[in-house]
Amino acid sequence: MEFVNLTIDNKTVKVEKGTSILKAARSVGIDIPTLCYMSLGDMNIENKPGGCRICVVEVEGRKNLAPACCTDAHTDMVIKTNTMRVLNARRTVLELILSDHPADCLICAKSGNCELQDMAHKLGVREIHYKGEMSTYKPDKSPSIIRDMDKCIMCRRCEMMCNQVQTVGALWGINRGFEAVVSPAFEMDLEKSTCTYCGQCVAVCPTGALTEVDHTNQVIRALADPNKTVVVQTAPAVRAALGEEFGLKPGTLVTGKMAAALRRLGFDFVFDTDFAADLTIMEEGTELLDRLGKFLNGDKEVKLPILTSCCPGWVNFFEKQFPEMKDIPSTARSPQQMFGAIAKTYFAEKIQTKREDMVVVSVMPCLAKKYECQRDEFATDGNPDVDFSISTRELANLIKGANIDFNLLPDEDFDNPMGDSTGAAVIFGTTGGVIEAAVRSAYELHTKKKLEKVDFEQLRGLEGVREATIDFDGLPIRIGIAHGLGNARKLLEDIKAGKSDFHAIEIMACPGGCIGGGGQPLHHGDSSILKARQIAIYQEDKNKPIRKSHENPFIIKLYEEYLGHPMSEKAHHLLHTHYFDKKNEFLIE
């Protein structure tokens, strides 16, 4: 390994060759501010267009200032990060950015969590000396995401996520000069674009330009309505991240406090999406075994691999970009929707409440869930199975707004019957988790043998595309895993080309899986946060007394009392779905 020695603010620094000035400076505690720069290094995600010019520093012998994020450190460089010249330039550039940014911080959704606001604070901007025309764009509200491009600072993070990481191609830089902005084609609404609502653009947006559609008011209204029974479900990944919004260390599990908070918010039943995740394994696992069995028996009608279908961003992706493959994914609905369907039938009957009087709220790490619960196929007579889906961030806002001191809450349990779950369900929150949960059950159901060890380490990790072979008692099952839609695309292209030898593939739209979802507390480019959440998820799994879905007593009871058996007609009706070709059609004859 080759090293270089340089001086930054009179400190001698030794770093590996190829290290940027920014990283070199940070390694000795000199925190050069950045705005457009963002790195999730471990996941190979980096945004450094060198566009904002906030991180400029003075390099001796160079005629202009150098951007620290994309200038490599070289031996004998003498760098100053805080001279008069640098400070003036940095502040002037920030003032310029602010001069084209609405000053409505007080009412902005990102207020308090905005990197631009933080920067203005850090640099102590008290006056904007340069004023002039401001960019104005038509606001765009899709079912999941709001685009307010007046607030865009052209950091291009969203564009990078949408194209390089997700290969969705919904957002691109358009126009040039002062009019340049990131937008869908023809400045059409996001809803009409190839957007999957994965929300990764929102997750990385440093300002209020991209935010989620806020449903907290609808939830408050439902809670205040005495005629409504309000049921809440919380997705696995939420408990591993919610604490961050209350100053807790990333990776702190707050399952018990979360249940307590939801109860104090006034939800009538505090349930868990994990319950539905166990149910998903029953249906999806059975479908896998069914297709596998037919396939091995030479049934030409059956196609493999089977792909998971829990992730609504992923469903949107293949419906819009690979509609010709829409018969490959499992028909099992996502846990959110299975939960809603069971809540408004089985459970509603149990508590003798009419469907219309029940409101199902989901708390999700995800923005695509907002769109998913609005899909026509998930409603009965216009009444949706899940009424509102709110993000982890929105839940935190609800709790804060209700004057609840989250950190002082006791740990409480979920309610029954739909609050009980297994360790298999909780790992749905991370990449590799769904397939591991499926393997745990499918193995036992297929081989009729008990698993010696339920931890499948070979399925875990943060590698973008992973593969493993699991021995089903002599039958080698080939499993693929992809997270991030760009990685998913690679596997899909292979299947399309007939090059795939997998029996089952798990796909999650967001890098890291749901722990890195678009609705989670903002990571601001710190990938250690995602890792901590993943560790927490596996910890929760370990803590659970039951770790295989088919052993969940309430699931067993649900089949006994209501559904019959997996893939029964009733199960089909309530728990399965079908997919649509949503590729944009041209109106050309």
């Binding site: 191609g169 084609a185 023809f186 050309i588 004859e589």
Partner: protein, 160 residues
């Protein structure tokens, strides 16, 4: 963008697809393809960009991003007689702005627009390299040199 989709001439669409194929449907040839597309259709409406996107297998957002980056590409159909006023420096210091203003005034359109009857469209261009004739105006392919604001009416009259 208007929500009403326009109907493209099928023969021209076929030609466009052939153009894409002649460039091996390579995404790197996007700009070359757009040049040819614009010469086929006269402009690049959304529908044309969608076909190009599909043929070259690139997101349509990217095609739009490229189209809006380069001033040579236009999404507005040009008038029957496209008028381009050179606003290069040489023309500027010799009074191109007054000439441009006169065209705007007489045609009642702004730069980048097409007159209501579709007859004239007005655009600016940067230096055709005929600085000796500054200020220069192009109507279609025809070059008018040493144009003054007074001469604008005469030029327009040629096409009335």
């Amino acid at each position: 963008m208007s929500s009403v989709k326009i109907k493209l001439n099928p023969a021209e669409v076929e030609k466009l697809k052939e153009v894409c194929a002649s460039f091996g449907n390579q995404s790197g040839e996007l700009i070359n393809v757009l040049h040819k597309a614009q010469s086929i259709f006269g402009y690049l409406p959304a529908e044309v960009q969608e076909i190009v996107a599909q043929e070259l297998n690139v997101p349509v957002a990217k095609v739009y991003g490229v189209v809006t980056f380069y001033s040579f590409f236009t999404m507005i159909p040009k008038g029957q007689h496209p008028i381009s006023v050179c606003t290069g420096t040489a023309c500027y210091v010799r009074g191109a702005e007054k000439v441009l203003d006169e065209f705007k005034r007489r045609l009642k359109i702004e730069v980048g627009e097409t007159s209501a009857d579709g007859k004239f469209s007005l655009s600016c261009l940067r230096c055709v390299g005929a600085c000796g004739l500054a200020p220069v105006v192009l109507v279609g392919e025809k070059v008018y040199g040493r144009v003054s604001a007074d001469g604008v009416a005469d030029i327009l009259a040629e096409y009335e």
